[in-house]
């Protein structure tokens, strides 16, 4: 049966080649779209490691001042300390802390971390004591930062489990140095947190280091952001009160206050827009291709009326015809998909798309293969039904 189908398809190879090409390209398009979707969906369902509800982000200093340092320097001394102290007065604020890199935005700071000759790249962010209370981080082992750390001659850091596994494997990271061994002042692990995903849900989880910032009162200490956890139910009206206090505490500096939930929502929208556009375009291409396929198969069937009629006259059942038409379509589709899979399989070998893990890659491959088979079968249903209804007598008169 299969061999026979192959012969039938081979006999009409000229006409089928274009359909094979169409399926081949459709598969590539679908694979790209599905894999991309699977990649982001996979990232999205993993835990963030912190809670953003009821947390407000305050950016200290406008973008301009941040880039150029165009701000009165004497005013910057102790600025973080003074701002945090001012915020502590409000009963609406449960906890507050300073941090350098904002959450839910593009871009990270990266550094290389070492352990016994092993090196790994990780993102990092400097934070002040109490950051864990604002963000509700989860500690796996070890301890948080504390005020007594000011006296240490090394920098305490918290690392996430991913980095702990990558750098230490089964060893215990607590108390070990992870900075460049040639540097004098060392970064030493005091605790391990479950996770910390600075760029939000869509981005791949990465190795992360939270570095304790010692606020000693020099201008360089100024943190670019302050995060506060407000009591549930605090309204936006409280924002102005905070803003007034901030402006009074640090003259000449600009602030922007935004609830993190809102920052997250607009950042997600910003990241999703291009993905959505890609999805819409891919869906449109697939609809177009399926409609085209229906047309082509239909035309094929009409053209082969005599052949099908003859088969019916010689005793072929309607079901046999039905299976034949669909079978031919499956063979053609398989050829296209085989070529497509062969090409796509080169991608990991060539080192392209390495950012997509093997699992996501396989899911993308499997889903797009299944989708194309489903689509072509659906396209073949109606024409093959028409074919099975051809009457031998009518068909044999055809000319």
């Amino acid at each position: 049966m299969t061999k026979h189908l192959l012969t039938l398809v081979w006999n009409r190879r000229r006409a089928n080649a274009l359909v094979v090409l169409e399926i081949f390209i459709s598969f590539l398009v679908l694979f790209a779209a599905v894999t991309l979707g699977a990649y982001y969906a996979d990232n999205y369902r993993r835990p963030l490691g912190y809670s953003y509800e009821n947390v407000w982000d305050i950016s200290v200093g406008s973008l301009m001042e941040m880039i150029s340092g165009d701000s009165a320097t004497e005013d910057k001394k102790n600025i973080t300390k003074r701002l945090l102290a001012a915020l502590r007065d409000f009963p609406e604020i449960e906890a507050s802390a300073g941090m350098d890199n904002p959450l839910f935005s593009i871009g990270t700071s990266n550094g290389v971390y070492h352990h016994q000759g092993r090196k790994t790249l990780a993102s990092f962010c400097a934070v002040t004591d109490g950051f864990q209370d604002v963000m509700r981080l989860e500690l796996v082992r070890g301890r948080w930062f504390e005020a007594a750390d000011d006296a240490l001659d090394w920098d305490p850091v918290l690392i996430n489990q991913r980095l702990a596994n990558e750098l230490f494997g089964s060893e215990d990271p607590l108390g070990k140095n992870i900075g460049n061994p040639e540097e004098k002042r060392q970064a030493r692990v005091v605790g391990i947190i479950t996770e910390y995903r600075e760029n939000g849900e869509l981005f791949e989880p990465e190795s992360y280091v939270l570095v304790r910032r010692k606020l000693t009162g020099v201008a360089d200490d100024a943190m670019r952001h302050i995060v506060i956890r407000v009591r549930p139910g605090t309204t936006a009206a409280f924002e102005e009160t905070v803003m007034t206090r901030l402006l009074a505490t640090a003259r000449g500096t600009s602030f922007e206050i935004k609830p993190l939930a809102q920052v997250r929502a607009s950042f997600l929208r910003f990241c999703m827009a291009p993905l959505l556009a890609i999805g819409v375009v891919a869906a449109f291409l697939m609809i177009m291709v399926s409609l085209g396929l229906v047309g082509v198969v239909w035309q094929n069937v009409t053209q082969r009326t005599t052949e099908i009629g003859l088969r019916r006259a010689l005793g072929g059942t309607a079901t046999a015809i039905y299976t034949q038409v669909l079978g031919e379509l499956v063979v053609i589709t398989s050829v296209g998909l085989l070529l497509g899979t062969a090409l796509v399989a080169q991608l990991p070998l060539l080192g392209v798309m390495t950012f997509v893990g093997t699992r996501v890659f396989l899911v993308g491959l499997g889903t797009s293969l299944a989708l194309i088979y489903l689509l072509t079968l659906l396209c073949g249903l109606y024409p093959s039904m028409l074919a099975s209804k051809i009457q031998p007598a009518e068909a044999l008169h055809y000319e």
């Binding site: 169409e22 390209i25 402006l247 600009s254 177009m288 085209g292 047309g295 053209q303």
Partner: protein, 416 residues
């Protein structure tokens, strides 16, 4: 003859409605996708007011500073001090304007925070750009010099703060500073990054005057209006020369400056091509890439159309046989089928235009891109027409050529 072809084409289109529908669906939606992209491009780079003098405007958008050993570099907007000293003094230009990249600024309206994009600009900014004023006037170089707290606002800001009534003469609190409104302009789309802002105020009203310092990088851009377009090479050379003479405040760390007086499209092209160097304009290569990507995108719709056309023409093999038997050459037949296909795609193109208009309207109304109002103008129309014709030819030639080679005897029997 052409009339005959068209008549016949029309009849054929009506004969197999399903096939016609598939073809039109593919053509029109392909066109919609391409038209939306073209409109987006035109919206960002086309010459629209207030940027009416783009043909003789250059900009200093990014500068790059490198350390003596080239290991560390800073690439970004320049500082005010740098531009003031080295770009504003360029000879042989008509005007130079300095302005900041917009930053967000917060105001409180009855306790509710309102975020606006604030741009600081000098008086020349309003002289180079042709803003239409709904009311009032721009601020002037004198306002900048006297550190007057005046502001020009856009329509949306007027609606937010003054509920649409006249705003000139009223006061506005932004980021803790108070400004008197002197003018109101229509909303500028966010993608027009040179003029865009919600609120424009003089540079000198900055909270501190440290921006005037020697800092090389910062948040400022420059706009250079040339006397005529042919001066561009001269101005670019002069800017290169000036960059070689820059005095560095901290030469151990940074002692080299690179940059180009260029257009926004130059910058975008470089970014797209991931090129870092400065020099020859990359716009042509950028365009070549865009066209290549467009053709790649059209590949699938084209193959689809070819497949349908092959089926459709095969149905007409007896007609082809008759025409061949009466002496029609292959070339004539190819011509006929191509004309038919171009007609089909043009109909699809027409539908595509109407749909694109709707889609663009929809995108504008979602507010996904603030203040964007995409329209279809003659440039976009011509672009779409060119795409459609190209599409029609591409998908018509192969099936036509294939069928025109049928042997008359075979064709007459009605078998392809």
């Amino acid at each position: 003859m052409l009339k005959n072809y068209l008549k016949m084409a029309f009849k054929v289109l009506l004969r197999r409605k399903f096939f016609t529908f598939i073809s039109l669906f593919g053509v029109s939606l392909t066109l919609v996708v391409l038209m939306v992209l073209v409109a987006l491009f035109d919206h960002t780079f086309g010459a629209y007011p207030p940027e009416t003098k783009t043909d003789r405007t250059l900009g200093v958008l990014f500068v790059e500073f490198r350390s003596p050993d080239d290991h560390s570099m800073i690439n970004g907007f320049a500082g005010y001090g740098f531009l003031d000293r080295y770009v504003r003094t360029l000879p042989n230009v008509e005007k130079v304007s300095l302005y900041s990249f917009p930053t967000t600024a917060v105001s409180y309206l009855n306790g509710a925070p309102v975020t606006s994009w604030l741009k600081r600009a000098d008086g020349e900014f309003w002289q180079i750009l042709d803003f239409r004023f709904l009311e009032g006037r721009p601020f002037t170089p004198q306002d900048e010099k006297d550190r007057n707290f005046v502001a020009v606002i856009n329509e949306t800001t007027r609606k937010r703060f003054f509920s649409d009534g006249p705003a000139v003469g009223k006061f506005l609190e932004v980021d803790g500073q108070h400004f008197r409104v002197v003018g109101v302009v229509p909303d500028i789309p966010i993608l027009r990054i040179v003029p865009f802002a919600d609120i424009w105020v003089p540079i000198s009203t900055a909270k501190t005057d440290t921006y005037r310092g020697q800092k090389l990088w910062g948040n400022y851009l420059a706009m250079i209006l040339a006397r005529q377009r042919s001066d561009f090479p001269m101005i670019k050379d002069e800017y290169h020369d000036v960059l070689k003479r820059v005095e560095f405040p901290d030469p151990q760390h940074y002692n080299k400056a690179f940059g180009e007086a260029e257009t926004l499209l130059d910058v975008a092209s470089r970014a797209f091509l991931l090129e870092r160097g400065y020099g020859e304009s990359p716009v042509r290569r950028f365009m070549a890439w865009l066209i290549l990507l467009m053709v790649l995108f059209m590949l699938l719709p084209t193959i689809n159309l070819v497949n349908i056309n092959v089926s459709r023409i095969r149905e007409r093999s007896s007609e082809i046989g008759v025409r061949k038997a009466f002496g029609a050459s292959s070339l004539t037949l190819v011509g006929q089928f191509v004309v038919e296909n171009v007609l089909l795609t043009l109909v699809g193109g027409g539908i595509g235009f109407v749909l694109s208009y709707g889609v663009l309207h929809f995108i504008s109304s979602t507010g996904l891109i603030p203040y964007a109002h995409f329209g279809v103008n003659y440039r976009i129309f011509l672009g779409g027409l060119a795409i459609t014709l190209f599409f029609g030819l591409l998908s018509g030639v192969y099936p036509a050529w294939k069928m025109s080679r049928l042997h008359p005897a075979v064709a007459l029997r009605g078998r392809g």
